[in-house]
């Protein structure tokens, strides 16, 4: 499903943000990538959805080398993914509903279905009652849940989440990861970057430990 071969990434000489990362994620896997901040979790995820290019290495997703996809066709890759960004990346001048529905709009889903699916996604993250509010009126944790709803609304094959529970209380964090587990059971491949040990202890079966851009340990519990 997702194959990374000898990925190196350098932002600035002489430090390597990622050093020789090789990883094979099978379809239906549920991975945690963990490590202290600055260890390269976000960089790795950004490379997988091609917001960043690696300095060296190759990435194959679904049998395609994603580094060779031309810019104007990258939307095809992104449509197979649901991404929760560390900084949420919400559209602050648009309502919660529009923030989530945009993912369905870009693929041309009929309006009637959009309404139903957005409502369901928001109900999953317990925000359906705030559907018509603006993100700026929501708390940090609520904004994060909007970002999660947006990531799952189109039933993506791959979910990439960068610290998706960073600002949530433990109870809600568990609920959200439970939600990802649920989607995972339906066949989606999930990769979550987090430094929350509690979460990993509770849910983790495949865990990658990153430290200074290197895998120091792979663990399959």
């Amino acid at each position: 499903m997702i194959e990374l071969y000898h990925i190196w990434k350098q932002y600035q000489k002489p430090d390597w943000a990622l050093s020789d990362i090789t990883l094979h994620v099978e379809k239906g896997d549920f991975y945690f990538i963990t490590g202290p901040s600055g260890s390269g979790k976000t960089t790795l995820l950004k490379i997988i959805f091609r917001e960043l290019f690696p300095t060296q290495g190759q990435i194959i997703i679904d049998g395609r080398n994603i580094l060779r996809i031309p810019d104007h066709k990258i939307y095809k890759l992104r449509r197979t993914m649901g991404i929760v960004f560390q900084d949420f990346r919400l559209l602050f001048h648009k309502r919660v509903f529009d923030n989530v529905s945009v993912v369905l709009q870009v693929v041309g889903i009929p309006r009637k279905d959009i309404r139903r699916r957005v409502f369901n996604a928001l109900r999953m993250v317990n925000l359906h009652h705030k559907m018509w509010e603006y993100p700026s009126h929501l708390s940090y944790g609520e904004q994060q849940r909007v970002a999660i709803a947006r990531a799952v609304v189109n039933n993506p094959k791959i979910i990439l989440a960068d610290e998706p529970t960073g600002n949530l209380d433990t109870e809600l964090a568990f609920e959200i990861i439970g939600l990802f587990k649920e989607i995972n059971k339906q066949g989606a491949t999930v990769i979550i970057g987090t430094h929350d040990r509690e979460l990993i202890r509770h849910f983790g079966n495949k865990i990658l430990f990153l430290y200074k851009g290197k895998f120091i340990r792979k663990e399959a519990l």
């Binding site: 960004f85 990346r89 559209l91 945009v102 947006r150």
Partner: protein, 241 residues
């Protein structure tokens, strides 16, 4: 603008009416009035009563019969008139055609000059509006760069992202076109009003008229095209492919 056709004397009524028929058939002629020799003499006597004596010295009426024709205003600047006059000169029964050539030539060169200046200014203004629209869109794109980036990350195609900006450009262009049409309308209304008295005879010649429907449509669609191209060019730099 009037063209006077002096007829040969001693034409029969049939010959006169044949000439009249021919004139009526011409698309350039708006109005025809026949002036007989007697009517011409009467006109002269009314206009120049102090020359009464000269006339009385003539044994016969020296005035030839004539047709006074009015030429349609919209054909004034065309070469058709020259052809028409030439044709009339060659026609049987017509002695002379009187028409103020100097005036026509002067008006023609003036209108050529005005046209040239118009095209020059128009070209500059088209370029200016192109750059203004493209800059407005560029600022807009810049302000919404983050939104565009998010749209790309959730799988929007470039076209999906571009369309609102292109529509905005087209709307700006159309609004610009409409606004200038309104200004033009007001100008045409007000200009003769201010200059009316000082223009005098010229007012008859300088024909202020509104743009035709086709011209109006061209004007507005031109605006839309400039708007589209303006936003297209500014988007091209932000979104490759």
């Amino acid at each position: 603008m009037a063209v006077v056709l002096y007829l040969e004397k001693n034409l029969t009524k049939i010959e006169v009416s044949q000439i009249e028929e021919k004139l009526k058939r011409s698309s350039l002629v708006a109005k025809i009035q026949f002036i007989s020799s007697t009517q011409a003499l009467e006109k002269f006597q009314i206009k120049f009563p102090e020359l009464q004596g000269i006339i009385e010295n003539f044994k016969i009426n020296p005035f030839p019969p004539s047709f006074e024709t009015a030429i349609r205003k919209n054909s004034l600047s065309s070469d058709e008139i020259q052809n028409f006059i030439q044709e009339m000169r060659n026609m049987d029964g017509i002695e002379d055609v009187q028409f103020n050539w100097d005036w026509v030539e002067k008006m023609k060169s003036l209108s050529r000059l005005v046209k040239a200046v118009g095209f020059f200014l128009g070209g500059i203004l088209i370029l200016a509006s192109f750059f203004i629209i493209s800059n407005v869109i560029k600022l807009n794109v810049f302000a919404r760069k983050e939104e565009m980036e998010i749209l790309r990350l959730v799988g929007a195609t470039n076209t999906f992202i571009k369309i609102p900006f292109l529509i905005e450009g087209i709307i700006l262009g159309i609004l610009g076109g409409l606004l200038s049409l309104i200004l033009l309308f007001l100008l045409i209304k007000i200009f003769p009003f201010y200059l009316g008295t000082s223009l005098g005879v010229l007012q008859e010649l300088i024909n202020f008229r509104y743009l035709s429907l086709a011209q109006t449509a061209m004007f507005i669609s031109g605006g839309a095209i400039i708007g589209f191209l303006g936003s297209f060019s500014s988007l091209a730099r932000f979104l490759k492919g």
